[in-house]
Symmetry: C2
Subunit: 272 residues, 2 copies
């Protein structure tokens, strides 16, 4: 069965989308067509939205599921006239929170992902720049400023993880690729030694690594299974010998790897 789900907001739609995705993931026998519709912030846009919802209802032969975080009551009333099944995220929780906090909700639009709500803007951009500047061992003389330094073989997922942690948490994460030379030396590279407490290792299944490297450099020694297997084995040995905590990135998303690293290293996010 095909069913359409809309994530509708008068802001970015991030909250509606995140919660909606989580809830729908619990119903894995149903194939959902998921559509995020941010900035539905006028009566006209709401009416056009109703048209889209009704068209989907007709096409699917069943009413769409609507997750909304729209604050404006007039717009919500219009959406409520559609042929959708509405999950009202804000109204469900704001009343009990108002009571518990003895305080009134400001019912203001798009607060949580706006720049205004966050004094952290510069910190975040700084963290992204830090990740870019200190990517792939490009520079090692700013490691004193790093919150974390990810280590692992080339193409095991270090860069996306560093960027995600920077963007989402404001964490300054550098990364350093361990090369064949480092492995043969059987010890940590000199640049990393003073920062052993900041190190976190990533490893990966050799066959996945082979596939990823083939995309970049097809049929090279670098991408051969033998080479990948050798590097992974040696690096895992190094992690164990040096007591560097590590995880295998093969079966985890960037979100999962990042969350696990923060828990394991006891690092709190800088963006609040």
């Amino acid at each position: 069965m095909k069913r359409t789900a809309f994530f509708i907001s008068d802001g970015t739609g991030i909250t509606a989308e995140t919660l909606g995705q989580s809830l729908l993931a619990q119903f894995d026998t149903i194939g959902f067509t998921k559509l995020t519709r941010p900035y539905i912030d006028s009566v006209d846009k709401a009416r056009a939205m109703v048209q889209q919802i009704n068209t989907a209802a007709e096409k699917d032969g069943v009413r769409p599921i609507i997750f909304d975080t729209v604050v404006n009551q007039e717009i919500r009333d219009i959406l409520g006239q559609s042929d959708g099944f509405m999950i009202d995220i804000f109204s469900t929780f704001l009343a009990p929170l108002e009571q518990e906090l003895s305080s009134h909700s400001s019912y203001s639009v798009g607060k949580s992902h706006s720049i205004a709500s966050s004094s952290n803007y510069m910190e975040r951009i700084e963290a992204v720049n830090f990740a870019l500047d200190n990517d792939d061992g490009a520079r090692t003389h700013y490691y004193d400023k790093a919150d974390l330094i990810l280590v692992g073989v080339s193409r095991c997922g270090k860069t996306p993880t560093c960027l995600y942690m920077a963007m989402q948490f404001g964490i300054r994460a550098a990364n350093y690729p361990l090369t064949e030379e480092d492995m043969e030396r059987l010890q940590l590279p000199a640049a990393l030694k003073p920062y052993k407490h900041k190190l976190f290792g990533l490893t990966i299944d050799p066959d996945r690594l082979t596939a990823i490297r083939h995309e970049r450099k097809p049929n090279s020694r670098y991408a051969s299974f033998a080479q990948c297997e050798f590097e992974v084995r040696e690096v895992e040995n190094l992690f164990r010998r040096e007591n560097i905590p590590y995880i295998n990135s093969t079966h985890f998303s960037v979100e999962e790897i990042s969350a696990k690293i923060l828990v394991e290293k006891g690092v709190e996010r800088r963006l609040k």
Copy 2:
């Protein structure tokens, strides 16, 4: 008044955190200490969590707010014994959804941010690599593969926006810095001309740009207010002359800019 909020999950905590942040943002007179606690997936961790909650309750003199997406009932029961005020995100919405979908929730842990739920893993990593490889005009011969090309003066926020769109939406976004030369030529650089339909402009207030550039190159001509003002004015003229849609990034977060760009260009996210 100081009050602690916990975002607790047996997965990454992203859903609990996102919804919790959105709801708390509506109560802007209260100062919240926000703590995300992912991977609370055992009885022992749940008991330790209760300790933390109770300690915060004692310190604040008022019970903490708890947003949880824990699926396991035993763990939820333990958390329920704490001195916190629980907002049960999943249980609130799963029952009505089960009824509407005539289907049972799988009550499985950490579904929505796991790699398993997403066939999009490679697409996402590819998009991040595309953003990195095509950053800052480094390469222009892959613009045929780009979903979007951001243009604007140096340091107006192009790179973080491209990376965010890649990571969150799987969108392949390149970016090209418009230089003084481009401005003096009074026309689009040759590399961009064939891709005018993919272009989106970013602009920024000159005083903000001055501040950002000073961080990078203090007291340079590049960072001077006169230079920043000149570049911004010329680039905005170019955008208008060439009918390139654009927004001013000064007062928007990366999330807001990204969502606005997708709406304006009518580009659907690639990650579903």
